[in-house]
C-alpha cells in the first residue's frame, strides 16, 4: 500500500466484506418469531404483543446494539442481517430505530388474537409440508390458541384425565 492518507470523508470508504455494521431487518422476510430478541445480549431488539389490535411490534434500537451478530446467527429466515454501514451519526432519533408490525393469528376457538404471527404459522406449515395436509391443519389448529383458551383447555383436559375430578365436576 502506497497511500498515506485517504481522502475520506470526501470520498466514500468501503468497509471490508467481513465487517459487522448496523443491523437491518427485512420486514418482508421476518416471521416475528422473536429468536433475535432472546439472544441479543444488550436487549437491542424488543418484541411486544398488542392483543387489542392483534399486532406484534418488533423494535430494533441501533443505539443499544453492540454489533455482535448473535441475532443474525439465530434468525431462521435470514431476515436480520448486519450490513456494512458504519456512518450512523444523525440528528434525528428515528434514524436509530427500526419498527414494524406483524399481524397475529386468530385463536382457533374464540377468534381473539393468539401468541403467534400469521407468518410464523405459514413458516410452520412450510416446515411440516412433508406431512399430509389434514394432519398439518390439525396441528396448527391445536397450537393457534389464545392464552385464555389455552388455560381453559388445560383445566378441561386435566379434569378429563383424572376420572375422580370428572365426578366432582358432575
Amino acid at each position: 500500500m502506497s497511500y498515506v492518507t485517504l481522502n475520506y470523508p470526501f470520498e466514500p470508504l468501503e468497509a471490508p466484506p467481513e465487517y459487522r455494521g448496523r443491523p437491518r431487518i427485512d420486514p418482508k422476510l421476518c416471521v416475528g418469531c422473536g429468536a433475535c430478541s432472546r439472544v441479543c445480549p444488550s436487549d437491542a431488539i424488543i418484541v411486544e404483543d398488542n392483543y387489542r389490535d392483534g399486532l406484534r411490534r418488533i423494535k430494533l434500537d441501533i443505539s443499544r446494539c453492540i454489533r455482535c451478530a448473535c441475532c443474525e446467527e439465530a434468525c431462521p429466515t435470514g431476515a436480520i442481517k448486519l450490513t456494512r454501514e458504519f456512518e450512523l451519526a444523525s440528528p434525528r432519533k428515528e434514524d436509530f430505530t427500526q419498527i414494524f408490525e406483524l399481524r397475529l393469528v386468530k385463536c382457533s376457538i374464540c377468534g381473539k388474537p393468539s401468541d403467534y404471527t400469521v407468518r410464523q404459522v405459514e413458516k410452520a406449515k412450510q416446515i411440516l409440508s412433508h406431512l399430509p395436509k389434514e394432519e398439518v391443519d390439525e396441528i396448527i389448529k391445536r397450537i393457534t390458541v389464545c392464552r385464555e383458551c389455552r388455560r381453559k383447555k388445560t383445566i378441561r383436559t386435566t379434569f378429563e384425565s383424572i376420572p375422580i375430578l370428572g365426578l366432582i365436576r358432575a
Binding site: 471490508p16 467481513e18 459487522r20 445480549p41 444488550s42 446467527e73
Partner: protein, 562 residues
C-alpha cells in the same frame, strides 16, 4: 525439582496442618485450602516470602458475600507459582462471620496486597487490621459509610445520597504539590497523580483513581446471564478486551469442567496475539509521543493499522471481536483468511523491522527512556508487578509460559526479560514481544487443527468455583468465577494487570523530574478502565488542597518566565 502443586500442598500442610479445615481441587493446577481466619494471612505471607517458591505472585484476592449459601463472608488469597517452576495456583480461603469482619492485613509485609485489601474493605466491609492506608480506594469519598455495594442485599440500581470529601497525603516540609490529572494532556483516561516536588525533583507521589468505576461485577451478578457476560467483559477495556472475554470464558469452562475444542483454542490464541501486537504498537507510539518523538508515534500507528485491518478481516471488527462464547468461539478462520493473515504479517514484519531500526538509532528517544523510572527487582516482587513491567525489572514471569492456557502449551516462543528496570527496559520487552507474537501467530496458523468450534454445555452445577488466567499485553490477567443459580454467576472477580502495576508507579517516580512523570506513568502501559470496575456512582470529589485551574495556570506561567 519442579514445584508441583502437590509439593506446595505438602509444604503448607507441614507448617499449617492443624489450621486446615478443608481442601478441594477445582482444576488439576488449582487448589483451594480452607483455613482458620487466624492462619490464612500467615499462610499467604509464608508462601509469598519464605516458602522458596519461584517468583511467587499474589495474583488476586477475592472477597465474596457467601451469606446466602453458607451464612458467612469469604476471602480467597490466590498465590501463583511462576518462572516455569511449576504450574500451580494456590487459593487460601477463609470464612468470616458477619459479627467479626476483621482479618489481619498482609500489606505491611507485602505492599502488593494494598489495593486488594482496600477494595474488599470498600465493597464488602471486611476490615484489614493494621492496614497502613485507611483511605478509600474504589468507592468515591462521598459514598456513605456502612453501605457495601458487593454485599448481596445491595440492589444494583440503588443510588445512595452523597457528601463530597477526600483527603490526600500531607506534603513534607518545603515541597510543592503538583496535581496531575484527572484530566491532563498526557492522560488517555481519567486518573489523578499528586506529585510532591522539591524544585523539579519528585520526592513522593500519591494516586487517586477509580473515576471510571462502572460496576461491571455487580451488574454481572445481578442482571446478566452467562452468555451476556463475554460481551460486557470484552468492553472492560478498549485495548485488551479480548483478553478479558477469554479469561471469563475460560473461568466458566474451568468451573464447569468443559473441554474446549482444539480449533477454538488455536483461534483464541491467534486473536490474543493479534491483540498483543496492536496493544504494544499503540504503546510504543504513545511512548514515542511522550518522549517528543512524534515521527515514531506516527510510524508505529501506521504499522498498527495493518494489524487492526487484519483483525477486522478475521473477526468483523477492529476491536471488540465478539468472538468468545462459553465453550469455544463463534467464528472460524477460513482458508482465504489464513493466507490473508500470513501476507499481512509478512508485510507487517518488514515494516516493523524498519521501524525498530529507526527507533533504536534515535538518540533522543533512547536518552529520554534510559535510566528513568527505575523499578528495582525487589520492589517489582514486593508489589507483585506483572507483564512487561515485571519483565523489564528482571522477573521471569509470563502466564503463557508458566501456566499454559489456550494453545500456548503447544507453541514455541521466548519470553524476553531485561534487568535494568528503567523505561527503556520496559520498552525493549514490548518491542521484542511483538516479534514473538508474530511468530506465535504464524505457528498457530500453520498448525491450526480441524474440528468443531464449540463444546456443548449440558448442565451447570451451582457454586463451583475456578480461577482463570491469561497474559494480557500488560501482564497477568486473572478472573475468578463462582457459578450460581438461575443462569447467573454468583461471583465474578476481575483482576486486570494494571491493578498490580499501578501501585508500583509512585516507587518509579521518586527521584525523577516532573518532565519525566508522564513517560514513567505511561511506561507501565496503564489501563485505567481495566482496573476500575466495580461500582456505578459518579465521583465528584472536592479537593481542598488542589490548585484551581487559574492558580495552576498562573503558577506555570510564572515558572516558565524565569
Amino acid at each position: 525439582m519442579k514445584w508441583t502443586i502437590d509439593r506446595v500442598i505438602e509444604i503448607i500442610k507441614a507448617k499449617f496442618g492443624k489450621y486446615i479445615k478443608d481442601m478441594y481441587r477445582p482444576m488439576a493446577n488449582q487448589v483451594i485450602i480452607v483455613m482458620d481466619k487466624s492462619a490464612a494471612p500467615k499462610a499467604t505471607l509464608f508462601l509469598l516470602k519464605e516458602a522458596g517458591v519461584p517468583e511467587p505472585q499474589l495474583s488476586t484476592v477475592v472477597g465474596t458475600d457467601e451469606r446466602p449459601i453458607r451464612g458467612m463472608f469469604s476471602i480467597i488469597y490466590w498465590v501463583s507459582v511462576n518462572a516455569e517452576g511449576g504450574d500451580a495456583w494456590i487459593g487460601i480461603k477463609t470464612y468470616l462471620h458477619e459479627d467479626d469482619l476483621k482479618i489481619e492485613s498482609i500489606t505491611p509485609l507485602h505492599p502488593g496486597a494494598n489495593w486488594y485489601e482496600r477494595e474488599i474493605r470498600d465493597l464488602l466491609g471486611i476490615i484489614p487490621v493494621n492496614h497502613p492506608d485507611p483511605r478509600r480506594l474504589v468507592l468515591p469519598d462521598d459514598f456513605p459509610k456502612n453501605i457495601y455495594p458487593l454485599r448481596k442485599e445491595y440492589d444494583y440500581r440503588s443510588k445512595p445520597t452523597v457528601t463530597p470529601r477526600h483527603v490526600f497525603k500531607r506534603p513534607a516540609e518545603g515541597t510543592v504539590i503538583v496535581p496531575f490529572g484527572p484530566y491532563h494532556a498526557a492522560c488517555d483516561e481519567p486518573y489523578h497523580f499528586r506529585l510532591y516536588v522539591k524544585g523539579e525533583e519528585i520526592v513522593d507521589a500519591d494516586y487517586r483513581g477509580f473515576y471510571n468505576h462502572r460496576g461491571i461485577e455487580k451488574l454481572a451478578e445481578s442482571r446478566l446471564t452467562y452468555n451476556q457476560i463475554p460481551f460486557i467483559a470484552e468492553r472492560i477495556c478498549g485495548i485488551c478486551g479480548f483478553v478479558h472475554s477469554t479469561a471469563y470464558c475460560q473461568a466458566v469452562e474451568n468451573a464447569m469442567g468443559i473441554d474446549v475444542p482444539e480449533r477454538a483454542r488455536y483461534i483464541r490464541t491467534i486473536m490474543l496475539e493479534i491483540e498483543r501486537i496492536e496493544s504494544h504498537l499503540l504503546w510504543i507510539g504513545i511512548a514515542c509521543h511522550l518522549a517528543g518523538f512524534d515521527t515514531g508515534f506516527m510510524h508505529a500507528w501506521r504499522i498498527r493499522e495493518k494489524d487492526m485491518w487484519l483483525a477486522e478481516r478475521l473477526t468483523g471488527n477492529r476491536k471488540t471481536y465478539g468472538l468468545n462464547v462459553i465453550g469455544g468461539v463463534r467464528r472460524d478462520i477460513l482458508e482465504y483468511r489464513k493466507s490473508l493473515a500470513l501476507n499481512t504479517l509478512s508485510e507487517l514484519k518488514r515494516e516493523y523491522k524498519e521501524f525498530v531500526d529507526m527507533l533504536s538509532s534515535t538518540k533522543s528517544f533512547i536518552k529520554r527512556c534510559e535510566g528513568v523510572g527505575v523499578l528495582p527487582y525487589n520492589k517489582a516482587v514486593a508489589y507483585s508487578t506483572t507483564g512487561p513491567t515485571a519483565r523489564g525489572s528482571g522477573r521471569r514471569i509470563d502466564v503463557r509460559k508458566d501456566h499454559p492456557y489456550a494453545a500456548y502449551g503447544e507453541l514455541d516462543f521466548k519470553v524476553p526479560v531485561y534487568k535494568d528496570g528503567d523505561v527503556l527496559a520496559r520498552a525493549m520487552v514490548r518491542i521484542d514481544e511483538v516479534w514473538e507474537s508474530i511468530w506465535i501467530i504464524e505457528q498457530a496458523l500453520d498448525k491450526l487443527p480441524g474440528g468443531p468450534l464449540r463444546a456443548e454445555i449440558k448442565r451447570i452445577e451451582p457454586y463451583r468455583e475456578a480461577l482463570s488466567y491469561d497474559e494480557a499485553p500488560r501482564g497477568e490477567n486473572v478472573h475468578y468465577v463462582m457459578l450460581g443459580r438461575g443462569n447467573k454467576v454468583y461471583r465474578w472477580k476481575v483482576r486486570a494487570p494494571t491493578y498490580n502495576n499501578l501501585p508500583a508507579v509512585p516507587e518509579m517516580l521518586k527521584g525523577y523530574t516532573i518532565a519525566d512523570a508522564p513517560l514513567i506513568i505511561a511506561s507501565i502501559d496503564p489501563c485505567f478502565s481495566c482496573t476500575e470496575r466495580v461500582l456505578v456512582i459518579d465521583v465528584r470529589t472536592g479537593e481542598k488542597k488542589a490548585y484551581t485551574e487559574r492558580e495552576f495556570n498562573y503558577l506555570s506561567i510564572r515558572k516558565s518566565r524565569r
